[in-house]
């Protein structure tokens, strides 16, 4: 492993950005190198109007092993200061208004599972494993997992997964709603790119506002009605709506411009 170079890489393929966590020695754990690269790439993706969907994945045949616990015992910076940094990254991904698809091979553990579930859709190889491993090292889930997992699998299963920190095989993860689709081993990224392409064909403002609304779940009816009025009101004034109407009446595919 002479060219060991931990971090995260960004590839742009048309309207799709592919963000890959890559730390061969630590199974892509959220080390300083990985996190700082991700921060930079996420900022890049957000500022790039040509990018309409994001794929989030891991190199080295796995997704992410979670927090980098090898440094726990000699950590100087208090957790109260360190954690908001990871949460900030998570919030940027969650609130990006660009749809995100996770592609999982191998496994997603601890904070890696939290990162995977920040996505709008989760595609997993059918031999992957998942574990909210936090309680195994005496901690509680973080980086938003309680919110994202509970919304996906319901509170009963979420409690069991978080409290017992037992491995969840891909088939169970699909049945529970933790992931959305399974592929043959090695095919998660390919399928995730297809789903991202579906997202990229949708009207970007509409899909972005829709994502923004889902990220505010759960909401009361009063909140919902206020927000839908404002956001749908804006969408009513867009060129994309007129393009969508024309395409519908002319029975052709719409070409949305995001304005």
């Amino acid at each position: 492993m002479s060219d060991y170079n931990p971090g995260a890489t960004l590839e742009k393929d048309g309207a799709i950005a592919i963000l890959t966590m890559d730390d061969a020695k630590k199974r892509n754990a959220l080390s300083e190198a990985v996190v700082s690269d991700m921060e930079r790439h996420v900022a890049d993706i957000m500022a790039d109007d040509a990018i309409r969907a994001v794929v989030l994945t891991g190199a080295n045949g796995t997704f992410c092993a979670g927090g980098d616990i090898s440094g726990f015992d000699d950590m100087d910076m208090p957790l109260r200061r360190r954690m908001p940094r990871l949460q900030g990254l998570a919030a940027k991904i969650a609130h990006s208004e660009k749809p995100v698809v996770s592609a999982i091979e191998g496994g997603a553990f601890g904070g890696g599972l939290s990162v995977a579930l920040l996505a709008d859709q989760v595609i997993s190889a059918d031999n992957a494993r998942f574990c909210a491993s936090f309680a195994k090292i005496g901690l509680m889930p973080d980086v938003g997992l309680l919110a994202t997992l509970t919304a996906r699998v319901g509170i009963g299963r979420a409690k069991e997964i978080c409290m017992l920190a037992e491995d969840v095989p891909a088939a169970d993860a699909l049945a529970d709603g933790m992931v959305d689709e399974l592929t043959a081993p090695g095919q998660a990224l390919t399928r995730a790119k297809e789903v991202a392409t579906e997202f990229a064909a949708m009207a970007p403002l509409a899909v972005g506002y829709t994502k923004a609304m889902t990220m505010r779940w759960p909401m009361t009816l009063v909140q919902e009605l206020a927000w839908e009025g404002q956001l749908q009101g804006i969408l009513f004034s867009t060129d994309d709506l007129q393009e969508g109407r024309s395409a519908f009446f002319e029975k052709r595919k719409p070409a949305f411009k995001g304005r």
Binding site: G138, M140, D142, L146, A147, K159, E160, C162, L164, M215
Partner: protein, 260 residues
């Protein structure tokens, strides 16, 4: 079982405490005298540092038939409100406590008995167990926390049908809907619950407490979860159990947690 027997039986199996509602004559109805014993027994289990998991079940092959229908004789609205209001004492202990609670349901979990089962963190049901929010049949609305707990488990559409039509759900259907977590053959719900309780009992108790406490604050969105995590994780990170867990993790051993 004579009337003199305690209305809630208490038994320890290692670090698992079993609380058995014992009012067999009335199919374990949650009468005032049952609640007078059950509530404190639950609170005591919750306080005891040696208890790492609590199993709640019913004696005589049934969980609980619900409230006490003989109570209604001299009812007033204020008395009625008070009777239901007082249930929050044990519901708070169940939902807001720090010890994981597993319900083992055989036979009937009706009315407030259904509420007790749904307030558990983890629910084991016999295949032929029967759940029913029977309240509407006697002109009452759901209580026992079901308005809070049931929609979280089965979704609003199914919850409304169960709560407004007092429909009966058996164990198999309950498992399919996510209303219960584990299905057991008839007669073996308690055994299955105890096996599961062992696993909850082996987990790091402070982490479990923090996780349970966070879930009890539902509804939460992503931002409020971020806030809860920072507060709890900071405290957990410095505990002896977290250090022991990391040591065991790297040594590939089973950790031994002390709850400190």
């Amino acid at each position: 079982m004579s009337d003199a027997a305690p209305k809630t039986l208490v038994e320890d199996r290692g670090s698992v405490r079993i609380l058995t509602i014992n009012n067999v004559k009335q199919r374990n109805a949650l009468t005032m005298d049952v609640k007078a014993v059950f509530g404190p027994a639950l609170a005591e289990a919750e306080r005891d540092p040696n208890v790492r998991a609590i199993v709640i079940t019913g004696a005589g092959g049934t969980f609980s038939a619900g409230g006490d229908v003989t109570l209604f004789g001299d009812m007033t609205p204020a008395k009625g409100r008070h009777v239901v209001y007082r249930q929050r004492e044990f519901l708070h202990t169940m939902i807001r406590g720090e010890t994981p609670i597993i319900a083992a349901v055989e036979g009937f979990a009706y009315g407030a008995g259904f509420g007790v089962a749904m307030a558990a963190d983890h629910i084991v049901a016999a295949e032929d167990a029967k759940f029913c929010a029977a309240f509407n049949k006697i002109g009452l609305m759901p209580d026992g926390g079901l308005l809070y707990t049931l929609p979280q488990r089965v979704g609003m559409g199914r919850a409304k049908e169960m709560l407004m039509l007092a429909s009966v759900t058996d164990g198999i259907e309950a498992k399919r809907l996510g209303m219960v977590d584990v299905l057991a053959p008839s007669g073996s719900a308690l055994a299955a619950a105890l096996a599961k309780a062992e696993r909850f009992a082996a987990a790091a108790p402070l982490a479990i407490g923090a996780i349970k406490g966070a879930f009890a604050r539902w509804p939460f969105d992503l931002e409020s979860v971020f806030a809860m995590e920072v507060d709890a994780q900071q405290a957990l990170m410095g505990t002896a159990d977290a250090t022991e867990a990391r040591r065991a993790f790297f040594a590939k051993q089973k950790p031994v947690f002390k709850g400190a």
